[in-house]
């Protein structure tokens, strides 16, 4: 194994000196280039697993700061960088693309996108990252454009508008490139914007297909919306999709139905809100869909990053999809058919008490005029931060909240269930002191068995967390939280092995790359990108 990695690294360095072009084949085989980070999660399966193994459980205690790049933006820093042959590409929120030297953190160039003043979001002018094809970088923008920028010169190549920002459309997610298509989805579901997923020609920006997450009149599922409520029903798409080359399907999580809290205006299951939709990449046609939370009134977006892994299930290997949902339930689905294989609460859950055989949750609690205590919190057990999976340990690593709750009042914004105002912050940059009591919500990184979905270990934090996780071949899991720590855990036991006080909350997923023959670990915290390596 060691030898194959070394060979792969050598190959990637050679490729880098020859050309920076990132071909579709390189994206497809990104696992063979552990020194680079070519997709949002490195690989299409979103395992966010680095095959670099220089940093191990034995030596991780010696990690040292290499460089910090400070963004000149006070928006949340949610982007995972790409690394291509010694160059780091990231986003300074809302929509500046930055090219950095991976060895020094020095800036090669920056590209500024001027957003339409109508561009707005529910929860911060953020961006989660880029995609690359050839020498073109792609970014979605707050004013609902998709733009292509030259990766060498930083000059605009083309831009196209997906939808009207005046109708609350925005884009915050990272695009997905497969073959010669770049695909992306639209946010704005809290403002009622009907979710769109669209594909474009990487060279020209020509739109190739468009899929609405809410079926139109005459399409199956439209009947799950009363009256005309489907027109402004939300079901936005605002986090990264997974891609399965075997079936040529891409899997997209969808957001809450709108209006968020008032289900009386949209009677029915509200398909395909709070769902995963599997789309054929060539046609944009729906292959299957599974709805996690029918007729949601608690804003339980299903916009977590799907993780694809082959999982043993009832004696045979299934093409699985792992999902730790905002609604407090953890799932194993069959990614080829959408079949519900397993699901259960992974945190305190009060709103349902079981599933039927098709995986429909049995809801037992509903918002009331007086207010009903819903667990988990309206911001969820997990939210958008990417989880990870290690094929070595065969464990699923999720950072999320435990014991969180909201008081759901019929038709209204849910109230916080405790007196600590910090519990409600949507990941906003904050250096406020933290006064949590023992009985209030707290953050965890947990490892789950992908078959049983049972917890294997837990690392508990005092504060809640908006950070993702990274698993590595050194049997480490990197994570962080709102307290401003970035840390490494033993992937098998959860034991804390190393930590750094990065002075700002971690609002992004960590990643790993190699430069000058040394493995680096990078994470955005506060308003800066930090990199660490062994001496």
């Amino acid at each position: 194994m060691q030898a194959s990695i070394r060979l792969a690294i050598a190959a990637s360095v050679l490729a880098g000196t020859a050309a920076a072009e990132v071909t579709p084949e390189r994206l497809l085989n990104a696992a063979d280039e552990p020194g680079n980070w070519l997709n949002y999660s490195s690989t299409y399966d979103n395992q966010r697993y680095s095959r670099l193994d220089e940093i191990t459980r034995e030596n991780v205690g010696g990690l040292q700061l290499q460089w910090i790049w400070q963004a000149s933006s006070l928006e949340k820093f949610e982007a995972t960088p790409l690394v291509v042959d010694g160059i780091v590409y990231t986003v300074q929120a809302p929509n500046d693309i930055i090219a950095l030297d991976a060895a020094t953190g020095r800036v090669f160039w920056s590209y500024h996108h001027e957003n339409d003043p109508n561009g707005r979001t529910c929860c911060g002018l953020v961006n989660r990252g880029l995609a690359i094809h050839g020498e073109r970088l792609f970014m979605g923008t707050i004013d609902a454009h998709l733009i292509a920028v030259d990766a060498i010169s930083g000059q605009l190549l083309w831009q196209t508008q997906l939808a009207d920002p005046a109708e609350f459309y925005s884009i915050t997610m990272s695009p997905l490139v497969v073959g010669d298509k770049v695909m992306i989805g639209t946010g704005g579901g809290d403002g009622g914007a009907r979710g769109i997923i669209a594909a474009f020609d990487v060279a020209t920006g020509e739109e190739l297909w468009r899929f609405f997450t809410i079926p139109g009149p005459g399409e199956p599922g439209n009947e799950t919306w009363s009256g005309d409520s489907w027109r402004r029903g939300g079901a936005a798409v605002w986090n990264h999709a997974a891609y399965d080359p075997e079936t040529n399907l891409a899997f997209w999580g969808t957001g809450n139905p709108a209006p968020d809290w008032d289900g009386s205006q949209r009677l029915g299951d509200n398909l395909h809100s709070d769902s995963v939709v599997a789309l054929d990449v060539d046609t944009g046609k729906l292959a299957w869909a599974y709805q996690f939370t029918p007729h949601d009134e608690l804003d339980y977006d299903s916009t977590q990053v799907p993780i694809l892994a082959d999982v043993e299930w009832e004696g045979r290997t299934r093409k699985g999809m792992l999902w730790a949902n905002r609604n407090g339930l953890i799932y194993l689905l069959d990614r080829q058919t959408g079949e519900f294989l397993n699901g259960k609460p992974y945190v305190a859950v009060t709103w349902m008490d079981g599933f039927d055989e098709k995986g429909r949750p049995n809801q037992v609690l509903f918002p009331t005029a007086e207010g009903a205590e819903f667990k988990p919190h309206v911001h969820g057990a997990s939210n958008w931060a990417p989880a990870s999976y290690s094929p070595r340990t065969e464990l699923f690593y999720v950072s999320h909240w435990e014991e969180s709750a909201s008081i759901a009042v019929a038709g209204e914004f849910p109230r916080t269930a405790d007196d600590n105002p910090r519990q409600t912050g949507m990941g906003a940059i904050s250096q406020l002191p933290f006064f949590n009591d023992d009985d209030e919500a707290y953050g965890v990184v947990r490892a789950y068995d992908p078959e049983t979905l049972d917890q294997v270990w837990e690392f508990r934090m005092a504060d809640i967390t908006w950070a993702g996780t990274l698993a590595t071949a050194g049997d480490l899991v990197f994570g962080g939280g709102r307290e401003g720590y970035f840390f490494a855990l033993d992937a098998e036991s959860g034991e804390l092995l190393w930590r750094a006080a990065v002075g700002g909350q971690v609002n992004a997923g960590p990643m790993s790359f190699e430069v000058n023959g040394r493995q680096h670990i990078a994470v955005a915290a506060g308003n800066a990108l930090f990199t660490f390596a062994l001496p």
Binding site: R120, D190, W261, D419, P421, P433, F435, M461, G484
Partner: protein, 254 residues
């Protein structure tokens, strides 16, 4: 026994007050209480607990930039005011905004409930003498730093809340006023007010007004304990409490 006391500086109602339109008249007590909660979580951060921090706007006296109908105020709460610091609140439903408006309309009426007018100057004497509040609290640099500083308490909390804290201090403890006791591995016991904490560390101010930081791995025990403050019922008269509340409400920071 319930006191309803307000600072004399807050009682100048009338000249700016707008007429109370229909919506507020139909609002129930529950609507107003709900509006108060929403105001505290969404609006007070800029407008202050009594809605009087922004110049020329004072909700507690019914003073707005101009006369607005309830529907106009609902629109402002939802959509903000362009080119000002007043933001849109996209997730606010009409019903919620209406309840905030109901609360705002009710605020001047609440002031009219005042039973006992307090005297801030007499309240200052009580703070530093008979009440001995300065044994734990400071105002403008005078007093102890053990308890929460009260130099801006008039901006941060409403008169009713201040009064409630004096009469029943353990009922509602602000998150930044929690008392903790830690026991180190060496057996030292330290009690103080929690200043901050995280997964690995704890920061507090101890009873000797010293800033202390502990690594949790060095602690045998960490526990929240009851507030050391006791009620002033029986210690101060109703008039003295009214005076003290007046003094504290007048603490608006510098």
């Amino acid at each position: 026994m319930r006191f309803r006391v307000f600072a004399s500086s807050c009682v100048t109602v009338g000249c700016f007050a707008v007429s109370v339109p229909a919506l507020a008249q139909h609002a129930t007590a529950e609507d107003i209480a709900d509006g108060q909660r929403a105001f505290a979580s969404s609006c007070a951060v800029c407008h202050g607990p009594d809605g009087n921090i922004i110049p020329n706007i004072d909700f507690s006296r019914g003073l707005y930039r101009r006369e607005y109908t309830d529907a106009e105020l609902v629109g402002i709460i939802q959509n903000g005011i362009p080119n000002t610091a007043m933001p849109a609140t996209a997730r606010m439903t009409v019903a919620q905004a209406e309840r905030i408006v109901a609360y705002l309309r009710d605020l001047p009426a609440q002031d009219g409930d005042s039973l006992i007018a307090g005297d801030a100057a007499r309240g200052r004497e009580i703070f530093f003498a008979k009440g001995a509040c300065d044994d734990c609290h400071a105002v403008a640099g005078q007093g102890s730093r053990k308890g929460p500083d009260l130099s801006r308490v008039g901006r941060e909390r409403r008169a009713l809340e201040i009064e409630d804290s004096i009469l029943n201090p353990t009922a509602v403890v602000q998150p930044n006023a929690r008392t903790v006791r830690v026991t180190t591995d060496d057996g030292d016991v330290v009690t103080g007010r929690l200043l901050n904490q995280d997964t690995f560390t704890v920061q507090l101010i101890d009873d000797d007004e010293q800033l202390r930081s502990f690594d949790r791995s060095d602690l045998r025990n960490f526990a929240f304990v009851a507030s050391p403050m006791s009620s002033y019922i029986g210690t101060l008269s109703a008039q003295e409490i009214a005076d003290l509340v007046s003094y504290l409400v007048s603490q608006q920071g510098s």
